[in-house]
């Protein structure tokens, strides 16, 4: 008889797997965020990059430190902290003091993510809660927008603010001031949070993610579509509403966060529509000029319920309970 081989590895099937793992997914998200970062660097200057890098580094540090303190396995290798950091930075005004941004990172990573058990266990998108905590905690710096390089003097005068700060298009819209053109809004030569200014760049990133099958287009389409339809109904300019504020960034990068969005396509569509409705309601009726982050946070909390009502049905079984 031939040589025997013993002590082979026994493991459960399947013995092959898709090369995509969590780290490659997160890496793709970071890659998809690069165009938006490039545009904001062009619009706001080098501080945009600095802010992004600091937030990402702070998130990675907090992730590492909290895992260490809790005696858990180190998880910074999955890139998820970097994604959170970059997205959080994209949600901040570029002139924000760095230490405040770091507090936001602390809230995002430690409070929202690690205390709830780390990646996959957080009930809401860490970056969004980080942003909201900063927004509520440091209201003034979070709404102090530094002037972009090519912002016209007329807009500043109309918005009635001093020479070093400008207003976001949404704030101007709320105040009834003269608005930038839709082309400017689309390209991103406007004021706003660091990463949300250029709809075009975010769209490029979104298309990259869809092509790489990282995200399904259900949530962004439902979200953006609802915003556009509701603006039409409410009598606003849909293109302006879609390109202004955080709708693009929120719809493509934050609402599609796997952990806090529904798992089935029908659930994702409901989720996207819900985000769109809440966003438009806040914009039109609430005192805040922008409601994307609140909308996503609220829908994040609803996600388990959406999941339970949109369970995928078994093949060949029409009604629930029809099968024995």
């Amino acid at each position: 008889m031939a040589d025997k081989h013993t002590n082979l590895i026994v493991s459960a099937a399947p013995h092959v797997c898709n090369p995509t793992d969590t780290a490659t997914i997160m890496r793709d998200v970071v890659i998809a965020l690069i165009p938006a970062l490039a545009v904001s660097t062009y619009v706001f200057g080098i501080r945009a990059i600095l802010m992004t890098v600091i937030c990402a580094a702070a998130c990675v540090f907090f992730e590492w430190a909290s895992r260490k303190i809790m005696h858990r396995e180190n998880t910074i290798g999955d890139w998820s902290a970097i994604v959170t950091g970059v997205i959080l930075a994209f949600n901040l005004p570029v002139g924000m003091p760095f230490w405040m941004a770091i507090i936001g990172c602390f809230v995002a990573i430690v409070v929202v993510k690690q205390i709830f058990g780390g990646l996959g266990q957080n009930f809401a998108n860490p970056a969004i809660v980080g942003r909201i905590a900063l927004f509520i905690g440091f209201a003034t710096p979070m709404t102090t927008w530094s002037v972009t390089k090519n912002m016209s003097q007329a807009i500043i005068n109309n918005a009635g603010v001093d020479a070093v700060t400008g207003a976001t298009p949404l704030a101007m819209w709320n105040a009834g001031a003269e608005l930038p053109s839709n082309l400017e809004m689309f390209l991103g030569t406007i004021n706003g949070s660091l990463g949300e200014v250029s709809a075009l760049a975010l769209l490029i990133g979104g298309i990259y993610l869809v092509v790489r099958k990282v995200i399904s287009p259900a949530i962004p389409c439902a979200f953006i579509g609802t915003v556009a339809v509701l603006s039409l109904i409410m009598g606003f300019d849909p293109i302006f509403q879609v390109c202004a504020g955080g709708v693009m960034l929120g719809a493509i990068f934050m609402a599609t966060d796997y952990v806090t969005s529904p798992i089935t396509t029908s659930g994702r569509i409901i989720f996207g529509i819900g985000c769109g409705i809440i966003t438009m309601l806040i914009r039109a009726y609430a005192s805040y000029p922008e409601g994307v982050s609140f909308a996503i946070l609220l829908m994040n909390i609803l996600t388990p319920h959406i999941d339970s009502i949109t369970r995928s049905k078994l093949n060949g079984v029409e009604k629930k309970g029809a099968k024995k």
Binding site: I136, G137, F138, A139
Partner: protein, 226 residues
């Protein structure tokens, strides 16, 4: 097991802290702990009411019929709360204003009713008094610590004195509801760590989740190292 007098007194401070371990009376605690002075004031009020009502209820425990004990407790407690509120109104109107509705609400505070039900109606007057003081101190301590943290970070002051408010802008979310819950959670975690220490890890039979189990001879013997 009979506890010593000292144990009864210290019990409420950490080991059976009414807010952080028994999780009673959280609503007023979260609401008033925005300023350190409020924490101390509220704590003092609770301390007085709790001690007095514990003494009276313990003294009357044989007289109070079991079926109507809760209304009786509430009557006793309400009496002391009224006294405390009138005293506050007379001597510390600012504190009274700051605590507002939470002073009358002490009447239905779970801590006081809870101690009356769980301790005072089963123990002697002295023990009940000590329990009231201990629990009251525990409450005061918790409310004050929470309030100090929230005031310092949330508005940059401590007992009204400016500490860091001029250096950088305070993180105002801490004096709002979410911040309250966050500090509350952190303190509960801290107390759990202090009292219970490390959580024991559950031991699982790894063979049940081992794909090689069906070929394995060690299954019956309670698992292998793999």
């Amino acid at each position: 097991m009979k506890k010593s007098k000292l144990q009864i007194l210290t019990n409420g401070i950490i080991k059976e802290n009414p807010v952080l371990v028994l999780v009673l009376g959280t609503c007023p605690t979260l609401a008033i702990s925005t300023q350190a002075i409020n924490g101390i004031g509220m704590g003092a009020c609770v301390l007085v009411v709790l001690t007095c009502s514990n003494i009276i209820i313990s003294a009357l425990k044989k007289i109070i019929p079991d079926t109507v004990r809760i209304p009786c407790y509430i009557t006793v407690i309400a009496t002391f709360v009224t006294i405390v509120q009138l005293v506050l109104k007379a001597y510390a109107p600012a504190l009274d204003k700051a605590l507002g509705v939470y002073i009358p609400l002490i009447v239905v505070n779970c801590i006081i009713l809870g101690r009356a039900e769980a301790f005072a109606n089963k123990n002697s007057v002295v023990d009940s008094a000590l329990d009231g003081i201990g629990m009251g101190l525990g409450y005061t301590l918790t409310a004050t610590v929470m309030a100090c943290i929230r005031e310092l970070i949330g508005s940059g002051t401590l007992f009204g004195a400016t500490i860091t408010a001029n250096l950088f802008s305070p993180f105002t979310i801490l004096i709002m509801a979410p911040g309250g819950f966050f500090v509350f959670g952190c303190l509960i975690a801290l107390v759990n760590k202090l009292t219970k220490g490390k959580v024991k890890e559950k031991r699982v039979n790894k063979c049940l989740t081992c794909p090689g189990a069906e070929f394995c001879n060690e299954v019956q013997e309670g698992g292998c190292d793999k």
